[in-house]
Symmetry: C2
Subunit: 413 residues, 2 copies
Amino acid sequence: MADERGTLPGPDSHISASSILSDEAEIVEMIRRRGPLSRTDLARLTGYSRAKITPLVGRLLSAGILEEIGDGTSQGGRRPRLLHFNSSQGCVIGVDIGATSIDVAVADLTGQIFERLSLAIDVRLGPQAVLDKVRACAEELLARRGADPAQVYTLGVGVPGPVQFATGLLVAPPLMPGWERYPIAAHLQRSFPRARVVIDNDVNVMALGELKRGVGVGVENLVFVKIGTGIGAGIVCHGEIYRGSSGCAGDIGHIMADPGGPVCTCGNTGCLEAVAAGPPIAAQALAAAEAGDSPFLAERLRSSGALTAADVANAAAHGDRAALALIQRSGHLIGDVLASLVNFFNPSLILIGGGVSQIGNQLLASIRQRVLHRSTPLATRDLRVEFASLGLDAGVTGAVALALEHAFTVERV
Amino acid sequence: MADERGTLPGPDSHISASSILSDEAEIVEMIRRRGPLSRTDLARLTGYSRAKITPLVGRLLSAGILEEIGDGTSQGGRRPRLLHFNSSQGCVIGVDIGATSIDVAVADLTGQIFERLSLAIDVRLGPQAVLDKVRACAEELLARRGADPAQVYTLGVGVPGPVQFATGLLVAPPLMPGWERYPIAAHLQRSFPRARVVIDNDVNVMALGELKRGVGVGVENLVFVKIGTGIGAGIVCHGEIYRGSSGCAGDIGHIMADPGGPVCTCGNTGCLEAVAAGPPIAAQALAAAEAGDSPFLAERLRSSGALTAADVANAAAHGDRAALALIQRSGHLIGDVLASLVNFFNPSLILIGGGVSQIGNQLLASIRQRVLHRSTPLATRDLRVEFASLGLDAGVTGAVALALEHAFTVERV
């Protein structure tokens, strides 16, 4: 992260990256969330004296972050001028780095996305190649808009591996050679020297997207489950992303799901992602095709030489029983693990997302069935288990939300 | 709870139960935590104007909650008077209701316990009989101290069943006939009409005790596991008790631990508490004794006609192999469940408490072994798994902490 003290970079302004104070951030956030307020409103809402409010507002006005507009309702005397948050004064960038693609979006300071780009690139090419592409995409999006890189307040970046949130470094990422402890923030700041860069795990970012812009709005406690090549969870606790003591909370892919299951990449046996994620579904599909259990998958195997989770989805959509059974089995295994977590964490919402979640309704039905069966009645009384609402946009939407969260707020250190 | 708005009952004072404001509570908390402060300090620390501070402090002084003492360091001019928190001006009561006993303690407003009583009573006698005993104990403790019931600010009460925290009502308690939705607060307020009563599940209360007065001090994320007749967990998240969306977070006793296990009271098979808590340990001990696998337990069975988890502890302490194997099996089952929860929640501390935890070090060693084996290396890198530090005092210590937490702070509604 660019600045651990959480100060606000004010491009083209009298306020430099290190000079905004937490009191100023509090005022900006208050006006951003509540809409236009008078200085008197601010004094009443913050409890601060007028003598304290006046210079803070003055600095924010001269930085262009606040503007004076119209007149408020008079309480007798002169009608007060209202202070308005100038959302077009700067922008944020959201970056979703996946295993095989990157998504970059530019948004105004209300989170409205106005330009977007996606491109295919393998994360295993290493951080320099991938992050140079991210910079090029972001610069192109800004150029399209006629905006200056100096107008960027924050970059929010989601990466497909475990992140030490305080430092923004990847720690022992299993599928990302060369990324371990690579200084992602410093690299991106070559293009955006005054911007703050905030980095988080992709699943946390997706959970944040749902919390801020999806079905999770207003939910206090939720679990977002991403099913893809691996399986991971993003946790929202008391309305905030919960990262745990070492930053690896939500790593549910290595929970034991099947004592008789195969050996996982981590060395243990029967891990959830080794028995229920995309690759094991594809492997089971291959076995079914070869055993003659599924004419549909056998035909597909003959024509393409390999099978994927998407083929299983397609087969199930055509009524193939073996494919439906595979999906159901995966759902039951995921559901059993989630049932344990529901008893422990008692969320009110579980969202199922990630590429493999698109495999069909049978998956959701099977997960839901096991959660309801194996969790306590009290824990499931008000629990919803649903597909994620943002689909494939969850990552980039969440990355914008991450950037925005850190544009004006002050870190808890 | 006596007052959902979180106001402070001020006995023998000008401040009635409904008249203290959150600003006053903030000032009291600040002085209570930091020690004596001047009005100027308060203005600086809160950001409030002197015009706002002065009447707030005035009300707290006349209520006796604050006192003026000594002189502070002068900054030039007149030396400021310091405001001091008067911890002897009132008291709080902690009540730990167990399945077969109650513990009651009276403490001053710093949490110092000065009188205590324990007595055996079966919770199945129902709420009226048990709560009348609690009232009698509390009245006796106050009388010993020469204190008036009107001086009691708050009662913190731990009960052995699921509590809807906002209302203070027990919801579907499995082992407490007659307690469902019984108005515990109103009953206790017959003796303490001006006190606020805060009720929580006993395991949450124990976790709070460790957090405020035990090895959990300063820990952000921890899990307290109580092993007794059942198995439950208290969760601390971001330094606060986490109760979940329906108030039943931590109900880990019904997580599936052994697919081939027996049917649990809840109707499912293989629940953790059905295979690893006190009663199944005793049942397995009986089987071992009858099968001739344990001369020690067989002898004990002959002399007393039954076996308990304490007999297993005793046998293990005498080197009985069958007893050691029973303890180890229970520890492994608990450890496997905790390993899943560690991957999900990534706490930095797990505390093992409750009556059956006293069964011996082999239990802790077995739990630890499985947690380290089955959790990811990142999640266990900074994880400690230890016995609870407050032992059998965790409940009443936590109940006092619960009372104190709500004596001056304002609820988040």
